[in-house]
């Protein structure tokens, strides 16, 4: 046995990420993964809200104070955007699974539509929630 290792074979590497021009479909793809994780983190807040509501008025008042603060509202806005985006792009994923919508031009246009629509729906939801202020009675 010789102690010299056999020379590592030069194998082709796939190009690193920064080599690519970023088409919008690459952005929507990674956004789907990021929002999937974002949604998972957001469910912690939903659970906290629900456990507090089941516990009693004091626990619920604390949740309302934290979530009603400015940082709380910003986080909830981000969570809403994450959910809405992931749902819209998830529907697109289901169409892809059925083989629909793969043409590059189609996929790019749909990506832009999804980003725009996600923001529009989220803003609409928050406008409606503010208009109702404190919830329907």
């Amino acid at each position: 046995m010789s102690d010299s290792k056999p020379a590592a074979r030069e194998r082709p590497l796939s190009p690193h990420l920064q080599i690519y021009r970023w088409p919008v479909t690459m952005a929507t793809s990674i956004t789907h993964r990021i929002t999937g994780v974002g949604n998972a983190l957001g469910t912690v807040l939903v659970l906290w809200w629900l456990v507090a509501l089941a516990t009693g008025p004091d626990a619920y008042a604390l949740v309302q104070a934290v979530m009603g603060s400015i940082p709380g509202r910003l986080i909830l806005f981000g969570f809403t955007l994450s959910l809405v985006y992931h749902m819209l792009n998830g529907i697109r994923h289901l169409f892809w699974d059925a083989g629909i919508g793969f043409r590059v031009s189609t996929a790019s246009v749909v990506s832009v539509i999804i980003y725009t629509l996600a923001l529009a729906i989220t803003l609409g939801m928050w406008a409606a929630a503010y208009a109702l202020g404190g919830g329907v009675r």
Partner: protein, 126 residues
């Protein structure tokens, strides 16, 4: 030259080593999520900032309790499958990967149980 068939070479490859059932589960829960998450989003707009009594009365309605229960079962299963894929993609070490996937599974089951328990408690209290 090898006598193995292309199929036998492909079996067990990929970061997860198996996964058709997982793949289908991810899609099935994704489809169920569409109406259920929509219900949740509408509820949040209507009652997200409601006071204690109003929020409890809303959730105590049987139709709402049932829809929210289904929502939690569906999203936490979907989340469990989705996070597992991400972990399998990025965590190369066998031990850490196993530990993280286990943790995600435990957390998802704990989340399902807690949410259903709280819903039931609110609903049965009236």
């Amino acid at each position: 030259m090898s006598l193995r068939t292309p199929l036998s070479k492909a079996r067990g490859l990929g970061s997860a080593k198996d996964g058709v059932g997982h793949f289908i589960g991810q899609r099935a829960t994704a489809i169920a999520n569409i109406p259920l998450v929509t219900c949740f989003l509408v509820s949040v707009v209507l009652y997200g900032a409601a006071d204690y009594e109003t929020a409890r009365a809303y959730l105590a309605h049987p139709v709402v309790t049932i829809l929210m229960g289904l929502f939690f079962v569906s999203i936490f299963n979907h989340m469990r499958l989705g996070l597992q894929v991400i972990i399998e993609d990025y965590v190369a070490n066998d031990g850490s990967r196993l530990a993280l996937v286990l943790l995600v599974n435990f957390a998802a089951f704990a989340a399902v149980f807690s949410s259903l328990f709280c819903l039931a408690r609110i609903s049965f209290a009236g």
